[in-house]
């Protein structure tokens, strides 16, 4: 009898936690939807300052470029080295060019850049807006008759959508180039062979696919980080908690979006 009661209590707790989780998720989805509607409306009404968009684009783009380059260089080298290791016995080495180009352009360029932006831009946005929320600066903005969406959200989101595809384009080019250099330096595969392999399985669609993915990441990362910043409460602890949660949400979102792209666009 005691065992049955314990199992029932456990089942009830699990169900309750699941219900709370679902409600929390639904609340986030609803709030994010309203935020997106607000951003679209403020853009349509022309209420977003171009100066603020450029300032955010500079911060997000130029500020993130060094780390994106480092990540792209290492991605190209690692892909080239590991591919070369696997192909050395049975597969012609020039196929390595295709493997590096496809891996970097379809997957590593957009996803690694997104991870850099999550850490460097997304976390910063949540912490910055979260601090404004807990120090009543967001309330002050509202009390002064200003809508926080065109002031705080829209410039960051528009900048993200502009800058991320550019950064991913640069990361793709640098990743493939360093893959080429690495293949020549360590496996003796010359540029002609590498590029021959790369062209053999190349589709122009791949670049469009890569940049579309970047555009979606560039939209989702600032949207989630702004949302998590705006709902922050509870002082410094709340800012820390929401920044961590925001990073977790952004990583999961990037991975889920990344997983939904191939069945939607590559089949």
């Amino acid at each position: 009898m005691v065992l049955v009661t314990s199992i029932l209590t456990l089942f009830k707790s699990i169900l309750s936690a699941f219900g709370k989780g679902c409600m929390g998720f639904a609340r986030h989805v609803g709030q994010i939807s309203l935020l997106i509607i607000g951003i679209v409306r403020s853009l349509l009404q022309g209420g977003v300052s171009l100066k603020m968009i450029f300032a955010q684009a500079y911060e997000q783009g130029i500020g993130s470029l060094p780390l994106v380059l480092v990540t792209a260089v290492l991605s190209g080298i690692v892909t080239s080295q590991q591919g070369g290791y696997q192909f050395s016995s049975s597969v012609p080495l020039y196929v390595l060019g295709s493997v590096v180009a496809s891996s970097v352009v379809l997957e590593l360029g957009p996803v690694m850049t997104a991870f850099v932006l999550i850490g460097r831009v997304g976390a910063r946005i949540t912490a910055e807006i979260g601090t404004m929320a807990v120090s009543e600066q967001v309330d002050a903005l509202v009390s002064l008759g200003r809508d926080p969406v065109p002031y705080l959200a829209a410039p960051r989101v528009v900048a993200g959508m502009i800058v991320t595809p550019i950064l991913v384009g640069v990361a793709n080019a640098v990743g493939v180039l360093t893959g080429l250099v690495s293949a020549r330096a360590t496996m003796g595969l010359g540029p002609e062979g590498f590029l021959y392999g790369a062209r053999m399985y190349w589709h122009s669609w791949d670049l469009f696919y890569s940049l579309t993915k970047a555009f979606v990441f560039g939209f989702m990362i600032p949207v989630i980080s702004v949302h998590m910043g705006l709902i922050t409460h509870g002082g410094a602890e709340g800012v820390g908690r929401n920044t961590t949660t925001s990073v977790v949400f952004m990583i999961i979102t990037v991975l889920v979006v990344d997983a939904t792209f191939p069945p939607l666009f590559l089949n």
Binding site: M132, E136, Q137, D139, V142, S143, R146
Partner: protein, 279 residues
């Protein structure tokens, strides 16, 4: 003084984890300064924030000049907010903007767009001078470069630059030394006298509230326990009002509360409060 009602709180309820406001009704007359007193956590700031929709009540309504804050259109609410300025407890200046831009935020966006730069600078400088700050010294500084008292005065300058009809002060002297606190209280009085603005001051500074206000309200456990003139407040025989009006009575109440808690730990929660107000 005209008896026209400017702000009307109608049976306002708000609950977070526990009830914070439990049916607050209050009329604030045009041009009057009313102070709201109460122990910490009794919902004073929450009540103030419901005035301009920063916190939405669960039940009840707030009207400004007869227009509901919670049943207005988006544009209507924006217009209502522009008639009101809120002075935040810690000033809530924008960290990334200098003092000029912070004070300029107190003006309507249309005014900022249309006003001549020189005229705007003059208005901002005048606002800063009205709160005893030297524009030449502070205009280009960031909020982080100013002291707490100066930041509060910049918050006041931001509130008055747009010549609002209503100013809401959320604990304007909290955290200030007595000299700076007296300065801020004097400024609130002089702003009210000069501009005839309607003011609600949430404060713990009882002497300051009694000096500057036409009426004083005491909020207790989410309900208005007392509303009256400073003289009525001083003469009141309500134990909690007496505890607020008289430091000796407050000290006696605190002592009695401590004695009660130490000698009678097994009693039900809530009885301590009954003792604290039963001096």
């Amino acid at each position: 003084m005209s008896e026209e009602v400017t702000i009307q709180y109608e049976d306002v309820y708000k609950r977070f984890d526990t009830p914070v406001l439990s049916g607050v009704s209050l009329s604030v007359m045009k041009g009057e300064t009313i102070s709201i007193l109460g122990t910490s956590g009794t919902g004073k700031s929450v009540l103030l924030k419901t005035t301009i929709g920063l916190i939405t009540p669960d039940q009840g309504d707030v009207k400004i000049d007869g227009e509901s804050v919670y049943h207005s259109s988006r544009a209507g609410l924006r217009d209502l907010r522009r008639a009101v300025r809120y002075v935040f407890q810690y000033a809530a200046l924008f960290d990334s903007l200098n003092i000029y831009d912070n004070v300029a935020m107190g003006l309507d966006p249309e005014t900022i767009r249309t006003l001549d730069k020189k005229v705007m600078l003059d208005r901002i400088a005048t606002s800063l001078e009205n709160v005893n700050l030297d524009p030449g010294k502070v205009l280009s500084k960031l909020p982080a470069e100013l002291s707490g008292g100066m930041r509060k005065r910049v918050g006041l300058a931001r509130a008055i630059v747009g010549e609002p009809r209503i100013i809401l002060y959320d604990e304007p002297v909290t955290g200030l030394d007595p000299v700076n606190a007296a300065t801020v209280n004097r400024l609130i009085m002089s702003i009210a006298e000069r501009t005839k603005v309607t003011s609600i001051v949430v404060t713990h500074d009882v002497p300051g509230a009694l000096e500057m206000s036409r009426r004083v309200a005491l909020l207790d456990n989410g309900k208005l326990r007392f509303v009256g003139s400073p003289d009525e407040f001083r003469r009141s025989e309500d134990p909690l009002v007496m505890a607020f009006a008289d430091r000796t009575a407050a000290a006696r109440a605190a002592l009695k509360l401590i004695e009660h808690e130490t000698s009678d730990e097994d009693e039900e929660p809530g009885s301590a409060h009954a003792v604290s107000i039963g001096v």
